[in-house]
């Protein structure tokens, strides 16, 4: 038994080390690059530390503009997705209507297509109706992949609400609206918060649809970063933008990590 435990720990240590190197080391390298004023590989460490490139990037009009556009588009996508999907989730969880199960399951179609090929099909339709290069077009294409988890996660949450409390409130004379606002919504708030957060972040980081539909007129933050990675030899530009793009979401997720139980993820993946 003791020997087995020793082997167990050794395998675990090897796995952990491999994951640390493969998963974390590349990201840590980028964080170091973002705060390096000078680093000439093959030197193993920056020769000068500083935030010079943060100042340069934040003074660039294209960066500031794309940040504004990205925040605006992501916010609109999140609001529209919530307005469309949350009532649907409530209906799926609480109301009886013909074909309910089939309708709910039909949303996994979102996962059953190769994503970029679907985007190209959408882009061809958008081309004929003049939505290429418009903010509306980008918002619409980013809505596509928010549908599944904006419906399935809140549906699971609405279903988990303790009905007896609702009935009790109604028995003492509370109206439907009062019960919804005071009893039901507080119970589903964490899951809906998680779904909203996921939608906002997916839209904010989304490259594929924005590149196909938005370029060249609508340039979101990830698109500007893409051009800085491909066209510029200054490594720090990409590094600073990576940190700017990514760290806020990490902080946000750490703050709200209790929302993300494994069921939330599973529901979002449709399994």
């Amino acid at each position: 038994m003791r020997r087995a435990l020793g082997k167990d720990a050794v395998i675990g240590a090897v796995l952990l080390a491999a994951l640390l190197i493969f998963v974390l080391a590349p990201l840590l390298t980028v964080i170091v690059w973002a705060f390096a004023d000078q680093w000439r590989p093959p030197a193993l460490w920056p020769t000068q530390w500083g935030v010079r490139y943060w100042h340069i990037l934040l003074a660039r009009a294209d960066v500031v503009q794309s940040l504004t556009i990205s925040l605006f588009i992501s916010l609109v996508v999140t609001i529209v997705a919530a307005l469309i999907c949350l009532p649907a989730a409530y209906a799926f969880a609480r109301l009886d209507f013909p074909g309910r199960r089939l309708f709910l399951l039909s949303f996994i179609a979102v996962n059953a297509f190769p994503r970029f090929a679907l985007y190209v099909s959408i882009a061809i339709v958008f081309l004929s109706v003049g939505l290429i290069g418009t903010i509306t077009g980008v918002v619409l294409i980013q809505l596509v992949f928010s549908l599944l988890f904006m419906i399935w996660i809140p549906t699971a949450a609405f279903r988990g609400v303790d009905r007896s409390i609702e009935e009790a409130a109604r028995d003492v004379g509370a109206s439907h609206l009062t019960v919804l606002v005071r009893i039901t919504l507080p119970q589903v708030a964490p899951a809906i918060g998680a779904a909203l957060l996921l939608t906002f972040m997916n839209a904010f980081y989304e490259v594929d649809g924005a590149l196909l539909i938005g370029v060249p007129t609508v340039r979101t933050m990830p698109i500007v970063m893409l051009s800085l990675i491909n066209g510029q030899i200054i490594v720090q530009y990409g590094a600073v933008l990576s940190v700017m793009l990514w760290v806020p979401s990490l902080v946000l997720l750490l703050l709200t990590r209790r929302m993300f139980d494994s069921r939330t993820f599973a529901a979002g993946l449709g399994v």
Binding site: A88, P114, V207
Partner: protein, 305 residues
Amino acid sequence: MTTAASAGGLRQGRIEHPRRSLFRDRGWAVGLALIAPAFLLMVVLIFAPAVLSLAGTFFPAGAAGASLANYEHFFGDALSVLNLVFTVWTTLATLLVLLVVGLVVAVYLRFSQSRLVAAIQVLSLFPLFVPGIVISFALIRFLGPTGLVPSILKAIGITGYQTPYLHASGAVIGLVWENIPLTVMLLTAGLSQVSNRAIEAARDVGANAAQIFIHIVLPPLTRSIAVVCCLNFLQIFGSFTVPYILGPAAPQMMSIFMQRTFTEVHLADAAETQAAITFLVCLIAGVVYSAIVFRDSAAKGTLAA
């Protein structure tokens, strides 16, 4: 509808609240109205474009009727075929690596008693929180020709490093990175159905580790493995950012090929055919995945309620 609903209520022995049953009578109309916007959006943004694309490829501009001219053109072009074959191989290679890595991690998470389990789980789910563009850039800085890995190798005197950046292996590494969480999550869920008692029983009658894995652990896992294969196949085949940044310029993954054709060469018809062929290649994976989810939900009643 009304009688069926109230009969259902009675059968469960519940006393119908008068106000609630009133709401229920109108329930189906309200329900359909509430889901209509989301469903219509999905039809307009997903089903309609996909069907239009597929149908459009059979009716080329200028032709009198249906024709396979678009497909003949695609399969007559060596570069197009090369890109398709390259995409299939890259996808299968990535899938294989993901299965091996995912199984090792998931099996360890399921059966280990070590305290490292929590850390391994967090690390394997961590890529969920990193956008594709950030990890692609990070892998260039890590594995690229001037990245940290070649610098370290040089410092300790190892020469002859071949960077995967801008090679097929670069795309594979990036795609494995991105899809580890999904794979581990699905396999862990499948492994939770393997019973400890069955393993102990097998061990008692003298089965070795390999026999236990093949006869006890794998069978309940087949469904998870099927879902992992289908979902990953679709994700990888339909991915753009990671292979665009890390993969080779030629041959290209189909997504990059389509983007160039549509945005840079402005050949919408050719891009449509490329998308249609991508749909057809992915059809089996999409159908199998949908069928498994449908069947499971029917069996478990999780979504049916």
